[in-house]
Symmetry: C2
């Protein structure tokens, strides 16, 4: 797989229709595994790290992942392509920026990605553009079992799966749901919701995981407890209580906004759409902010003529690495601002004609 | 003249074409006069103030002003209509807000306005949408002479015309030119220009005269010295040195912006136009800011499809009193924000369709 081809298409897991499309952007289940009989990475020599990478690469591409899957050797990949993988949520920032032999195996439709030698020997994830947590879990169990036919994982009957960081031990399972919560942000109720989430031992993060800001009103909610509960319990709580609860809050906040502050909401949305279709310079942060307003407007039927598919595509294509891949050249931030604005105008059908070069001062 | 009719048309003195249209919005010449043998207003009893108002009203409407002129008795005019006259630059804020018998006589095309019992017994002004200072001066001299056929003004051979405030004595002449200086504002050079202006004993004020902010990048430059120079000298300096100097600075700043920061300027202009055509709520301040960007864009040929006439009309119609007169009802600021945005969208041909009321949460 050529990463340039990847950069020009939306991720295969993005969904246009789902019962929760108005709030849920994506769900992810992740399992951490380490090979039995081998040290955790921080204790390995470079040769040992390389051996682990080689073993896992061979197994992953030897029929575990479906046809069309590809493996990226991160160490030999240039920084722009690494950043591209981060923007597509296929690897973590840490994986992009660290050192040593490491990689990622990716299914053709990007629903499955397995990081090799990130913090653990293996970090596998299944992604979906919906709240289909059981489907994700079935898929990741299938993957886990396939791998176990070839590999033995470090497991303790007392602690469960062993991981480099003890906070992941046990199930080594992380469930994460990315939610778009613009109305809770506008009304200020988001703080209350996030506080409750933290009280329930949930982690709340931004668009790109740990340590990132919640730009574009995107909040990633994940479990922090991996020990003492079964996989089914963790997933059940997410599916039946946590996520439906937050969805309900957000929907009520939207309804209240439309009833009490309709014109102000219309104003935000219409301004955002107009600026996206007209600006000549646009930062990545402003893009995410404006796309968030537009997404809200689309869900509230305030605007027409733009699809969720287009919003998802723009959210991705306007990220720095995607933008540079799209235009086929490296660009300084100021050049990106111009290219980004042009791309958005083109995609959203804003005025295309270059302003006249004539001038009379 | 019904003030409601007045509120629906642009001022007669606004010009669409002139050699300085890109920078000069309007010019004004003002003369202060007081009746000989009568006290300055601060020393008058209410009866005396009323007598002065009566005498001047009779003279002004007795053939001194052309057919179609009208007189507004400010004391018996409601606050909204007073504010309307301020927004049209026909009376000062002080005149609108003070007490006692007072008025204003206005020529049908609004090029001439004579305030009665403002700070002085008479304050006459001639306005033009150009830099035609000589034409203004001829017109105001004609008016002054017409008045002197019926009235005797307080005059000292040593000090010239006597005025309530000594800073106006002598010629009692004030020349003011309203300049649109957005490029100097963007580049920050405006501070240097304003400092030089102050060094030359010029006053720099905002859109509505003394004590007002320079909103919408509009700067009013006036002489402060009225004594020790002849009328012709004061006007000559404005026409030949001061105003051409500032125009030249502004034009150079615009040229430099287009050469060095073209995309950033296009971005400002295109965003401003888009927001004006799309917003659902808009304050008066934001309107003036955005119209300023649009005016710059029009002069730099960055945007098309909007005329200077329309910008002038919008600058006036979106002011609080004009807006309320336009819609025929009093409105709270929040209601005005919505009405203003609707009016601007209508005038600039933005999307008119009301957003659908359907919604599915």
């Amino acid at each position: 797989m050529n990463l340039t081809d990847l950069s020009r298409r939306p991720a295969g897991w993005l969904k246009e229709e789902s019962p929760f499309r108005d709030v849920v952007v994506s769900s992810r289940i992740r399992l951490a595994r380490n090979l039995a009989g081998r040290s955790f990475l921080s204790r390995c020599s470079e040769r040992q790290v390389r051996e682990i990478a080689e073993i896992l690469r061979r197994v992953l591409l030897g029929g575990v992942l479906k046809d069309g899957a590809f493996y990226v050797d991160i160490a030999s990949t240039d920084p722009l392509d690494r950043q591209l993988l981060v923007e597509r949520h296929l690897i973590s920032r840490q994986h992009a920026e660290s050192d040593g032999p490491r990689g990622v195996a990716v299914a053709a439709d990007e629903t499955v990605a397995v990081m090799v030698n990130e913090e653990d020997h293996l970090r596998m994830q299944v992604l979906t553009g919906d709240l289909e947590l059981e489907a994700c879990y079935s898929e990741i169990c299938r993957l886990d079992e396939m791998l176990e036919r070839h590999l033995t994982f470090a497991f303790s009957s007392r602690f469960g799966y062993l991981t480099a960081c003890p906070t992941n031990a046990g199930t080594a399972l992380r469930v994460s749901v990315m939610l778009h919560l613009p109305a809770l942000k506008i009304t200020g109720e988001i703080e209350k919701v996030l506080r409750s989430a933290r009280d329930m031992h949930l982690a709340v993060r931004g668009l790109y995981g740990e340590g990132t800001e919640a730009i574009g009103d995107m909040f990633q909610i994940s479990n922090q407890t991996t020990l003492g509960k079964s996989e089914e319990q963790i997933i059940g709580e997410f599916r039946d209580q946590i996520v439906p609860g937050i969805i309900e809050y957000e929907r009520r906040a939207r309804q209240a906004l439309m009833e009490n502050r309709r014109t102000a909401v219309e104003d935000r949305v219409c301004r955002a759409f107009a600026v996206l279709r007209s600006a000549r310079l646009m930062s990545s942060e402003e893009t995410m902010y404006l796309l968030s307003q537009l997404r809200l407007g689309l869900n509230l039927k305030i605007v027409e003529g733009v699809s969720v598919r287009m919003l998802n595509e723009l959210s991705l294509l306007t990220q720095p690495a995607h933008l540079q891949k799209f235009y086929g050249r490296e660009m300084a931030p100021s050049q990106r601002g111009k290219a980004r604005a042009n791309l958005i105008r083109e995609k959203l059908g804003g005025p295309q004609k270059r302003p006249s070069r004539r001038r009379k001062l």
